[in-house]
């Protein structure tokens, strides 16, 4: 304390005062690095096993012939699903679906084999749970593929029986095959992509909330924001000094999570490391300014935190990672643009995964810088007003 009094007002004094405040609050220290890293570990664990395998499905085999058993075997052999239950009626299969025990039911009706042999084109039906859309559509795709393979095999046999050679019969079954490939980010990395997007979104909450807490606390304190301004000397130095400890902590968390992702978990990094570091820093700053502005607009600490929670909490839906931005309504499109994380994730995708040239990334980079400036200006303006209007009031 004695040494602090001798320090001249300025960046260092504001910074030391803030560090001292953080040091007195173990809860705040916990949310600076250990808590976000813990959440990252939990999220990484959720997605750690990669794409789901052996998702349970049920079969209702009412045919019980060589063909129907072959169908069941083919379906079970796909890595994504496993036949977990054999039901005798469709009602029983439906029950398993509703109970959440299986994601799909394959119905092979009676006389399927006989009808195939006599050319009567029987129908095999796959019912899948599309309420659980992610696993449901994975199951539908792989089981549908396996059933298609069985049908193709029968078709080839029929053609050969009509006198075609095996080679041309095989080509004729799938006249227009669709060869899908990932231009970027092969589909197996879907899980990594999701994790890499969720982490910054969670971090945006931490960054915004810590900045909000810092300013709201000073504002509610006995000496008010006037004291903070006295420590910093100028507006700019006050804001910089107060926020610098958090900037440092969260940039370490952000880069630390990336180090785990690209190092330990072996995700691919294709772009420019320097650029990655730059927009990472800009993202932290923009999120801090958002939190600071919210704290100075809100009336008290709880409202400030609630405001940051309302803005950053539901952000993930707006980023377009799960449901694409091109299908959003106007309100969501505008709201998404006001969130730093939207642009950060776009820059990340462009740089890390697509290795896009800088010119492609410039609009998103300008957005992110613009948001940092805009929120920063609001924060500075309000700080000036609050600090001046009642310098010593509570």
């Amino acid at each position: 304390m004695a040494r602090r009094r001798h320090l001249k007002a300025g960046f260092r004094r504001a910074l030391l005062a803030e560090v001292w405040q953080i040091g007195r609050r173990p809860g705040l220290m916990f949310m600076l690095a250990p808590f976000p890293l813990l959440l990252f570990a939990i999220l990484a664990a959720v997605f750690h096993l990669g794409l789901p395998r052996d998702l349970p499905i049920a079969v209702v085999d009412q045919d019980r012939t060589t063909l129907s058993r072959q169908i069941v075997r083919m379906v079970d052999a796909t890595p994504e699903v496993a036949v977990a239950a054999k039901a005798t009626t469709l009602g029983e299969g439906r029950r398993l679906l509703v109970d959440g025990k299986v994601y799909a039911v394959v119905l092979i009706p009676p006389r399927t084999e006989r009808d195939v042999l006599s050319g009567r084109r029987p129908e095999v039906v796959l019912f899948y749970n599309n309420q659980y859309m992610t696993p449901g559509s994975m199951v539908a795709r792989s089981v549908g593929g396996a059933l298609g393979t069985v049908a193709a095999g029968i078709s080839i046999e029929a053609r050969v029986a009509r006198g075609a050679d095996v080679e041309s019969a095989t080509q004729a079954v799938a006249p227009i095959p669709v060869r899908q490939s990932a231009l970027f980010n092969p589909s197996l990395e879907y899980v990594e992509f999701l994790l890499a997007a969720v982490m910054p979104t969670v971090l945006q909450i931490f960054i915004g909330a810590s900045a909000a807490l810092s300013f709201a606390r000073d504002r509610q304190g006995v000496a008010g924001l006037g004291r903070s301004l006295n420590l910093g000397g100028t507006l700019f130095k006050t804001v910089a000094g107060k926020l610098a400890p958090y900037t440092l902590a969260y940039i370490i968390v952000l880069w630390g999570a990336d180090a785990l992702l690209f190092g330990l978990m072996g995700a691919r990094f294709n772009g420019s490391l320097a650029f990655h570091a730059t927009y990472g820093l800009l993202f932290v700053l923009a999120s801090q300014m958002l939190g600071a502005a919210a704290a100075l607009i809100a009336r008290d600490t709880v409202s400030a935190l609630a405001a940051v929670g309302v803005i950053t909490g539901p952000a993930f839906g707006f980023t377009g990672i799960t449901f694409p931005r091109l299908s959003m309504n106007d309100f969501s499109a505008i709201w998404a643009d006001l969130l730093p994380v939207t642009h950060y994730l776009q820059l990340r995708t462009d740089n890390v995964l697509r290795a896009a040239p800088l010119s492609i990334s410039m609009p998103a980079f300008a957005w992110l810088a613009g948001l940092a400036l805009a929120y920063g200006s609001v924060a500075l303006l309000l700080l000036w007003r609050h600090g001046r209007a009642k310098p010593e009031a509570a």
């Binding site: 959440l39 939990i42 084109r121 992610t134 060869r179 299908s327 309504n329 969501s332």
Partner: protein, 380 residues
């Protein structure tokens, strides 16, 4: 006794109304989030996803294929590119989200009965866009391919039904259940609404109780009754009224829904008291709950299957009421599950309610033993 209890009930209600933080979380935030959160998803499905086409064949059949791709609801052919670098440039600028290549000799090979593959490129990270494009292409390619095949067979003198039996000897029908249109809002919102109930209730209790000396048993019980009662009303709004307003599929029995909802709200309330007594400040409680929202959503197993999570993690997550309540309520409301089907979830909620009540009592005892703690320092 009954009069005293009634007075406590009135006091609990008055406390919610008097505390600005509690009023805005327990009355305002629930409604606000239920309107705000669904916004990005209201379109439900992707329509006219822009795709670039590289037609290297330029034939009648390649144009027919492109016409069929464009005719699908989900995909729109918006650009034609001369080559891959040009298409890739459009992709990077996000002018298109997929690229389709029809190679040279497409028509010649198709008519000659040879395999005539087409190629599609997209970004593997965007799950929804990928599956949308994939099904649009597969449908177009399959229908055109089958027509050409049948045409070839009938040209050799085979009658139409026999040709069909050769081309498609086994019909594979795929039926999506419960969310037939594959709507994204229909998928996400029923789960999110349950989570909103939990998080705002916890925040409200945090606002009212964090950093305060624990009340007596009767007052605490009256508080709990009021919170569960209030949120039972909210559950009706959020789980019945809003799905109707947003046109989400809902086929469940409201009585079964409440058979799950009431134990769930009791468990959340007990957890709220425990958290409020363990985390000493309001700010701490609110912050803790805000950051936990998204991880809890992923842990509930609706968006990411529980089978694909490490078992110890999922077991640990069972300690949070939403982990079992979200899937149970989705199964009741959206899939029509009956009471027997959700028994397990109900018992889990009751067990959690008991466990958190004990924890809250214990935390309260500890509080009383430590008089130096800064009680009330953050009261408004």
């Amino acid at each position: 006794m009954i009069a005293a209890f009634f007075r406590e009930i009135v006091a609990a209600l008055a406390a919610i109304w008097a505390d600005k933080g509690a009023r805005s979380t327990m009355l305002g935030a629930t409604l606000f989030f239920s309107v705000f959160f669904p916004q990005p998803y209201l379109a439900e499905v992707v329509r006219d996803m822009p795709v670039a086409m590289i037609d290297q064949d330029g034939s009648t059949l390649s144009r027919e294929l492109i016409r069929r791709i464009d005719a699908s609801d989900a995909v729109a052919v918006t650009r034609y590119a001369p080559d891959m670098p040009a298409a890739r440039d459009m992709f990077l600028k996000r002018e298109v989200y997929g690229i389709v290549v029809v190679p040279p000799h497409f028509e010649r090979d198709l008519l000659a009965g040879r395999s005539a593959p087409i190629a599609a490129f997209s970004d593997g990270g965007y799950f929804l866009l990928n599956s949308v494009m994939s099904s649009a292409l597969t449908n177009a390619a399959r229908s055109l391919g089958a027509e050409v095949q049948i045409g070839r067979l009938t040209a050799t003198g085979v009658d139409a039904s026999a040709a069909m039996a050769v081309v498609e000897p086994l019909i594979v029908t795929i039926v999506p259940l419960f969310n037939p249109t594959g709507g994204y809002a229909s998928f996400v919102l029923p789960a999110v609404f349950v989570l909103i109930l939990q998080q705002t209730l916890l925040m409200g209790i945090g606002n009212l109780k964090a950093g305060r000396r624990p009340d007596g048993a009767l007052a605490t019980f009256a508080d709990a009754i009021v919170y569960v009662g209030l949120y039972a009303l909210w559950a009706g709004v959020v789980l019945v009224l809003l799905p109707w307003a947003y046109n989400l599929p809902r086929i469940g029995d409201v009585a079964v829904m409440y058979a799950v909802t009431l134990p769930f709200l009791a468990a959340v309330t007990a957890m709220g008291f425990a958290v409020a007594r363990l985390i000493p400040t309001k700010e701490g409680v609110i912050f803790f709950l805000v950051v936990l929202g998204m991880p809890l959503f992923f842990l509930s197993g609706v968006s990411w299957p529980a089978e694909a999570m490490p078992a110890p993690l999922h077991a640990l997550a069972l300690a949070i009421p939403s982990t079992t309540a979200v899937p149970a309520l989705v199964r009741v409301n959206q899939m029509g599950a009956d009471l027997r089907s959700v028994e397990g979830a109900i018992f889990t909620q009751l067990a959690l309610c008991l466990a958190y009540s004990l924890l809250a009592v214990l935390a309260g005892r500890l509080r009383r033993l430590a008089p130096d703690a800064r009680f009330g320092s953050h009261s408004v």
